[in-house]
């Protein structure tokens, strides 16, 4: 067979193969598209604590509050005028006592922020109350 003929035969075979494969991929088959839409998937929220209360006790000022189940609380004691953080505590309890020994003279702001343990979710606000120490007397103004 001459080389020109060989080329023609090879090209013809290639074309047949290509046509054959494309014909397979476009074989008419039935199809259907079914869609399912879910209901609403709504995220929860971390609510701020409520009812933050301050009460004077022998050892200091006891703060209590109400929070949702499965929460932790970050309690921060900050100088009301200085802005200096005196203490930060994370607890699962819904109460915290600021010890008299911790407090210097002046007014301190105690804030409680609810968080969801193990996540970055925190309550959008942290209610706070003041506690004052003057002449060895603690008060919840």
């Amino acid at each position: 067979m001459r080389s020109g003929t060989r080329v023609v035969v090879a090209l013809t075979l290639l074309a047949l193969v290509a046509l054959g494969s494309s014909a397979r991929s476009t074989q008419a088959a039935f199809s259907d598209a079914a869609a399912v839409t879910t209901g609403a998937l709504t995220a929860g929220t971390v609510e701020p604590v409520t009812g933050l209360n301050c009460a004077v006790e022998a050892e200091g000022a006891r703060f209590t509050w109400t929070g949702a189940p499965n929460r932790q609380y970050v309690v921060t004691v900050t100088g009301a005028t200085t802005g200096v953080v005196a203490a930060t505590t994370t607890t699962t309890a819904t109460s915290y006592t600021v010890n008299r020994a911790l407090l210097g003279l002046g007014t301190w702001r105690v804030s409680v922020r609810a968080v969801l343990p193990g996540t970055s979710w925190v309550a959008p606000s942290a209610p706070s109350r003041n506690v004052s120490l003057a002449l060895n007397l603690i008060s919840c103004p």
Partner: protein
């Protein structure tokens, strides 16, 4: 051969070609005429078939969902409220091939247009299993689970924008009249950003079935 005799033969040769040509022409004319008048008798036989009806291919969901081709189905029981990071909820979805031919099917997920999607990309994931559903409890953290086989290697985080995201393809073949229980595991990863608090959205799964061609 002498010179004058050759000259005679050369002048005769053209004239002798006319005879076979005429004979052939006559034969052709006669033949055509004969063919056109060949059949005096003739017959036409006709056969009518019975009805030829196409089959159907219809992928239905659950019992009576997405009936017909290209139809949608709303499954409001796939829902969650107060979803928190670390929780996952499992929901059953049955895929039924009510057609007469085997099919392979694929699935994509996207945000449903019926409700704005307010989550970011870290918030909601979906993984589909072929198998039974184990419902979650009702208290935090809810941890539903799916049995069987995961149909894709890892959970797909639902993108807050863009088109459908592929879940799996060419699942099957699922024979005509057969069904397959799926389990949809909807989760909020523990890494979901704080900004997702109170956000909401609905999902849309598109399942496309194609006939398995022999």
């Amino acid at each position: 051969m002498s010179g004058p005799r050759r000259a005679v033969e050369q002048t005769r040769r053209p004239r002798s070609l006319w005879r076979p040509v005429l004979a052939l022409a006559a034969a052709v004319v006669l033949g055509v005429g004969g063919a056109s008048s060949y059949a005096y008798w003739q017959d036409t036989a006709q056969v009518t078939t019975g009805q030829i009806t196409a089959g159907t291919l219809d992928l239905q969901l659950d019992s009576g969902g997405a009936v017909g081709t290209g139809t949608a189905y709303t499954k409001t029981s796939i829902a969650a409220s107060n979803l928190y990071p670390g929780e996952r909820l499992a929901f059953p979805l049955t895929v039924r091939n009510v057609g007469g031919v085997p099919v392979r099917y694929s699935a994509t997920v996207t945000r449903a247009a019926s409700q704005p999607w307010t989550y970011d990309a870290t918030a909601i994931t979906l993984q589909v299993y072929a198998g039974p559903t184990t419902a979650a409890g009702t208290s935090y953290p809810r941890t539903g689970s799916c049995g069987g086989t995961a149909l894709h290697s890892s959970a797909v985080a639902v993108a807050p924008s863009g088109g459908p995201q592929a879940l799996f393809s060419a699942r099957g073949p699922l024979g005509g009249g057969a069904e397959e229980p799926l389990c949809l595991l909807v989760a909020m990863p523990s890494t979901a950003a704080n900004a997702n608090q109170g956000k909401t959205g609905t999902l849309q799964l598109d399942l496309t079935a194609e006939q398995v061609v022999p």
